[in-house]
Amino acid sequence: MSSAELVGPRSGQRVTSPVVRYRGAFWRLYREEVVLILRRRRNQALLLVLALVPLIIGIAVKLSSPRGGDGPQFIGQVTGNGLFLVFTALTVALPLFLPLVIGVVSGDCIAGEAGIGTLRYLLTLPVTRTRCLLSKTLAVATFTAIAVLTVSLVGLLAGAGLFGLHSVTLLSGDTVSLADGLLRTALVAGYVTVALFGLAAAGVLVSTLTENAIAAMAATVGIAVLSALLDAVPQLSGIHPILLTDHWLGFGELLRSSVSAPDLLRWTGLHLAYAAIFLSLAYSRFSTKDVTS
C-alpha cells in the first residue's frame, strides 16, 4: 500500500512529467489484440469447427467406396493423394464456414468492445484511434490467416495419415513432384487468406458502425452470402467478375501446369482493393466516431 510510489512524487516535487513512448509499443498492442481473440473460448470453438471440416471429409471418403462425379471439387482425387484433402476442405469451407468464422471475429473487433464499454477505456489510455483500428485490423488479418491455416494444416495431416502424400497429378494431367505440390498448396492457402481479407475488412468497417456485435457479425456474414447469391444469378453475369466472393475458388488455377499468373494477380489485386476500400471507409468513420458507449 505504498501510495507514494504508485502515484508519483509528493506534491512539492510534482512537475509535468514528460510522456515517454517505449520501444515496441505497437507490437505489444497488436499482440494483445491477437491474444484477446485467441483466448476467447468462442473463437477457439470456431477454429475447432474449421478443423473438423477436413477431418469429417477425410473420414467420410475413407469409409465410403470410391465413386466418381458428384461432390465438391477435388474430392475424387483425395483417395489417390491426401494432399487433395486440403483443396477439398478449402472448397467446402469457403462458401460458409470460413466467412462465418471471419465474420464473427471481424464484426466483433470494435463493436464488441464498444458494446461492453471497454473501447472507452482503451481510447483514453490512450490508444490513438489510428493505432486502435490498425492493431485490430492486423489482428483480424492474423486470425484470418490462422483460420485458413487451421483448415489447410489439419487437411494436410489428415490427408497424409488417411491416404498418404504422393506426387501430384495436376488438373491439366501433368504430374509434378510432392515438393512442387506442397509449394502449390502453400500458395493456395496464401491465396485463400488474401481472398478473405476483403471480407475481413468489410467486417472491420461494419464493426465501426454499430455497438451491437451480433448485428455486426450477422451483417458481415450477410455481405458474403449476398455476394455469393448475386454470383449465382446468371442474368447478373456482367457484375460477377467484380463480386467480393467471385474468385475465392480461383485457387484451382494454381493446380494447373501453366499457372495463369496474370489472372491470379488480377484477382488478388481485386481482393486487396476491396480490403483497401473497406478499410479507408472504416478509418474515416472510426477516426471521427463519437464514443458514447
Binding site: E5, E32, R40, L125, V291
Partner: protein, 328 residues
Amino acid sequence: MTTDAAARTDPPAVSAAPAYAVRSTGLTRRFGAQLAVDGLDLEVPRGSVYGFLGPNGSGKTTTIRMLLGLLRPHSGRIELLGRSMPHELADVLPLVGAMIEGPAFQPYLSGQSNLRRLDRSDATADPASSAERIEAALARVGLSAAAGKKFRNYSLGMKQRLGIAAALLRPRELLVLDEPTNGLDPQGTREVRHLIRSLAEDGITILVSSHLLAEIEQIASHVGIMSGGRLLRQGSLAEVLSAGTAVVRVTTPDLVEAAALLAGLELPEVGVDAETSSVTARLGSLAPEQIAVTLVNAGVRLRGLGVERPHLEELFVSITGEGFDVLR
C-alpha cells in the same frame, strides 16, 4: 469540513505548471436538437478535489467524455493539464486516469489479466515495471486476493474497485472519476473517500462526479453544479456554500424583543419559532458577533446564537430544483 477543504484550495507549488488542470471555454455539444452541454466554462484548479455535481441527464458524463476525447464538442475549447484536447490527446491522456460511467472490462479475463491487457496496450507505460505496478494498483484498492478471479464473477463493488485500480496503474496528474462509489458498501465508500484524500495529498487533481452530496462535501475543495447542460455554480466549496443563504438562529425566551431587534438590524426574513424558542433571520453581510452585542445591550436573554449554513444537499436542491422529473 470547510476549513479542512480550504487548506487544500491552494494548488501545490509547481513551477511553470498551468493553474488549471481542466479548463473549458464555451464547451457545447448537441445531440440532435437537444443541447446536452451548453457553453460550459469549467475551471478545475490544479491540486483541487473538484466535486462535479448535477442531476441525472444534466450533462456531466457528456462533459467528461468530451474532456477525454471520446466525444467531439460542437464548439468551445478544452485544456487538460495545459494542453489542448483533443489535438494533444496522445501527450496528455497518459497523465490522466479515468473512470467513465462505471467500470468496463473483458468479462472472461481475470482482474489482473484485464489490467495487464490495458497496461500492455499503453505505449507510454513501462513494460519492465508492469507486473509491479499492476500488483500495487490491485493492493491499493484491496483486490489482491481476487486478482485471479474472472471479471464476470466480481461483485459490483469489486468491479468498481478494479475500475479505480485501472485509473491508478501509473503515476497520474489528474484523475477523472465518474461516480466512483457507485455500488460500494459503506466500508467501500469510506475507503474510496480515504483513497481520494490520500491521492489529493500527493498533489493529484481529482475531478469526481457523484450523487452523494454528503460524500462530496467531505472530500471536495471545489464544486461545480450542472443542471440542464449548464454550469450553474462553480468555485471553492466555501464560496459556493456561502452563496447559499446563511441563517442566524437566536435562542431566547424573549422572542418578540429579539425578533424586533433583528428586524431593526435590517436582516431579511425574520421568523419566530416558538417550538424551539428561537428567532431566525437571513444573515446577509452582518457579522454574527454584531448581532450578539446588539441583543445583549438591549437586555435580551441569550441562550444561544448560531449561524447555520446550508449543506450542499440543500443548496443543490435549491439550485437544480426538487423532484424526480427528468428535465429534458
